[in-house]
Symmetry: C2
Subunit: 502 residues, 2 copies
């Protein structure tokens, strides 16, 4: 009977995943394909489907099956996989049940509509154009926190969406360790006499040829183009409708080859995770990624630890030289390597180097936490942003466009998302340290352009499990210890001490 109950439940769950997958297609299309005027009705369509999803998820039939299974879970009658499914669906369900349908629709519509307004505000460098939408979103997110409930900070209720099983206190602990390393280390770099030359990356690179190259790199490191696509959008992102249809985007600059490459490798890291989840697990938490932090660990591992390493470019740089001989023919690998790893505090997060990147995140985390806790007001954001930026980076912000308006997250309602970027960096370094212990001659393989071993390791240790383990449990299982900032700190210290001769 338990078997039958589980089968029934999985069927009901499957329809929920189908609908959720359809909504992802609508979002992807909105970013990549949709003509401008389609925005208003698309927002309503997404809002309506989100409402539908909520209705299905909280329907009487579904609740009944779930409650019965929850009892079995609590009395220890389920196996590991079943436990994962019931535990994780229950988590989401308990949250959803607390959100009234009108609220869900309003949030989905508001955030979908805000995307375009934010983009316009950023283009026009006009924070006030975005402000009313932002205020609405903050109000809605604070209301969400109240509705679902929380311990400690209301921000915990939002964090929970993107990084379950963690909280503000834990994040503040690792972030403060990081901050106390980063700020003095950055000061040392600033004092270093080594000056890398970023201009070696600047040139004239036809977009068509860049697209080819980016697809080549993505494919070479493991992306399956029969089960996915690489398109163009203003803000690169990846989304998996299911493991056999994974969409990612990048963006190109004609005069800067590496601008696209680093985004592409980043998104490929995400996509390899999505493509690595077993298709037969689609339709339940067993077929879902663990958390945004773990997701980000995959993109960061590929983008930075591998994609900005000497080993990686020992293989790819000759290919780059062959494809763009006029430009790179006379530039040495060592100069290229230094150029792609220049440390230089700058305004735009997505263009930040590995050392300063996490300071961008810490700044945003502090701000959005304060917004949700109500200790600062949205009106004051530009000033608060600019003051903090001066303090952490020693730079004056030139315009809101390059300051408080630069990120898509708040307009999309993704408050609580930012910390996952830094968690991703930490997990990435911690995982990679383990992979190096497990894989014989890993770095030698990378130098030969062999990415099969590291990808297989990530698949086996992370991708295939779906949500079987939570992030903290996985970290311990794979690396032998809980999330720790030391691996990232060691990695940064070693790499950049060498580059900057510290």
């Amino acid at each position: 009977m338990s078997q039958k109950l589980m089968e029934e439940f999985k069927k009901e769950l499957m329809d929920i995943y189908y609908l959720s997958s359809a909504i992802s297609v609508l979002h992807w299309d909105q970013e990549v394909s949709m003509p401008q005027k389609g925005n208003e009705l698309r927002a309503k369509i997404i809002g309506s489907l989100a409402g539908e999803l909520h209705n299905k998820f909280t329907s009487a039939d579904f609740s009944k099956s779930l409650l019965a299974l929850k009892k079995k879970l609590d009395s220890g009658k389920l196996n590991d996989e079943e436990s994962c499914i019931v535990r994780e669906v229950w988590r989401e369900f308990s949250r959803e049940k607390k959100l009234p349908l009108d609220f869900v629709k309003e949030l989905a519509e508001t955030t979908s509509r805000s995307q375009l307004i934010w983009a316009q505000a950023r283009e026009k460098n006009d924070f006030k154009l975005f402000l009313p939408q932002l205020k609405k979103i903050i109000d809605l997110k604070r209301k969400e926190a109240e509705l679902v409930g929380f311990k400690g900070s209301p921000y915990n209720a939002l964090l929970d969406i993107f990084e379950p099983y963690t909280n503000v206190e834990e994040i503040e602990m690792v972030f403060s360790e990081l901050k106390s390393f980063l700020i003095p280390f950055l000061a040392k770099i600033k004092k270093s006499k080594v000056k890398a030359n970023r201009s070696v990356l600047k040139g004239d690179f036809p977009i068509e040829k860049q697209i080819e190259l980016n697809k080549f790199i993505a494919s070479k490191i493991g992306f399956d183009f029969e089960a996915g696509k690489l398109d163009v959008s203003t803000h690169p992102f990846s989304t998996g409708f299911h493991p056999q249809d994974v969409r990612m985007t990048t963006r190109y600059k004609k005069d800067d080859l590496f601008y696209a490459i680093s985004s592409t490798i980043h998104e490929t890291g995400h996509s390899l995770y999505e493509q690595g989840i077993p298709i037969e697990n689609f339709g339940s938490p067993m077929g879902e990624s663990i958390s945004h932090g773990i997701h980000e660990s995959q993109s960061r591992l590929w983008e930075n630890i591998l994609g900005k390493s000497e080993d990686f470019w020992q293989y790819f740089y000759p290919i780059l030289q062959k494809r763009f001989p006029k430009h790179f023919g006379k530039i040495k690998l060592s100069d290229f390597y230094k150029a792609i790893n220049i440390v230089s505090p700058s305004l735009i997060r997505t263009e930040a180097d590995e050392v300063t990147y996490n300071l961008h995140i810490i700044l945003r985390f502090e701000i959005e936490k304060d917004l949700i806790e109500g200790s600062i007001a949205a009106e004051d954001l530009p000033k608060i942003w600019n003051d903090k930026f001066k303090e952490y980076f020693g730079i004056k912000v030139s315009s809101d466009k390059s300051g408080v308006l630069q990120d898509v997250h708040w307009s999309g309602g993704m408050i609580g998302y930012f910390p996952t970027y830094t968690l991703g960096n930490l997990y990435a370094a911690q995982f990679y340290a383990s992979a190096k212990r497990d894989i014989l001659n890993l770095e030698k393989e990378i130098r030969k352009g062999q990415f099969g071993h590291i990808l297989a390791w990530l698949r086996k240790n992370i991708h295939i499990h779906g949500k079987l383990f939570s992030a903290d449990v996985l970290a311990e299982k794979v690396t032998g210890e809980k999330l720790a900032s030391k691996y990232f700190i060691e990695y940064i210290e070693k790499k950049y001490s060498k580059i900057y001769n510290i």
Copy 2:
């Protein structure tokens, strides 16, 4: 109270339209963007959403509101717009309600499965491979006719899906008029000494430059690229998610410039209709196109009557010459005009000229009607097809691949669709005759590349009404008479007598 009831009903209806619009996005993405491996799960996702749609449409709540409004309609208590909404929703609802869920599923599954088998049978030129599927489909469609009920021929029940408010008798009348003109007229053309040279259209035209040109033409004749897109797919099609997001596709041949252009203009005709429906009417039959025949009248008017006219190319041909000077620099407009209007009976419908096209349709209409009425058997189709083809076109069919197996419609269960192509041609000519009476110097405007007047006329007379009028009522309202074949016959006779010096 009536007001409130209507408002409530419109809200429920809106969610149905949202869902239906989302399904269209999934279909479009499947044709245009989706990677290969995504197919299997995409089919399931669409299936699940289609089931959802059926459930919403036949739900108890929805039925209750609709029944109450139907009573008001019957007692004449609704205004014109309300009447349109209730009348048309009732039409669809009464049909849906008569189809048991098991039947709907079986039909969907059978036709979905048949697509691949038909494609294989066509590739292998093996009718017998397709026969069992075709028989199943015919049985199911005959059963559908029985379930929904009909007067006269059971074919009327199928026609009703694509061209409501018409019937076999009306169609046979106009089609027989057409046939008695077309067959002797074709014989005259065959005897003509004028020989146009199609080879002037053949050359080397880079796809990138073709894409630009096609977008230019679509935009010039009125397509709003802020409210739509032009993409590439194997079989050109258009679909409107709503009037502010209309997607169309075309396909390119490197050696044949006109191959893409005619498809693009055709699809632009469809899209101008979709973009011309008032956005504020989205979410009810007031915001939907009238019928497939009327839709086709829009594509045919632009593709043929305008897009293959001398006036049209007096404006566009110099542009073509400027963009492809090597090729068209020395070719005269009159030779180009003759080449795009060559009449030549041939096996494939989609490549047929304006004169023979409708004979293809009449042949298919006669066959599928007989199949549904049971007067012929599916086993005998190749022989019946080939005999008829010899009779109408004077050509021997070389293989089933280029004969009875060429079209996708039967395998997709779209029996009753074919006649709408010819109805579209007839309506197009009839509408255009009226437009010429109404618009001062229309042809002069066209020669100057001014398409605003004809588009405004189509908008005002056809597009903005949605389903307010049925096709027959609209024809009378706009042209002063019922559907008549004489306008098309006059148009063809005049144009081709001149070209072929008859």
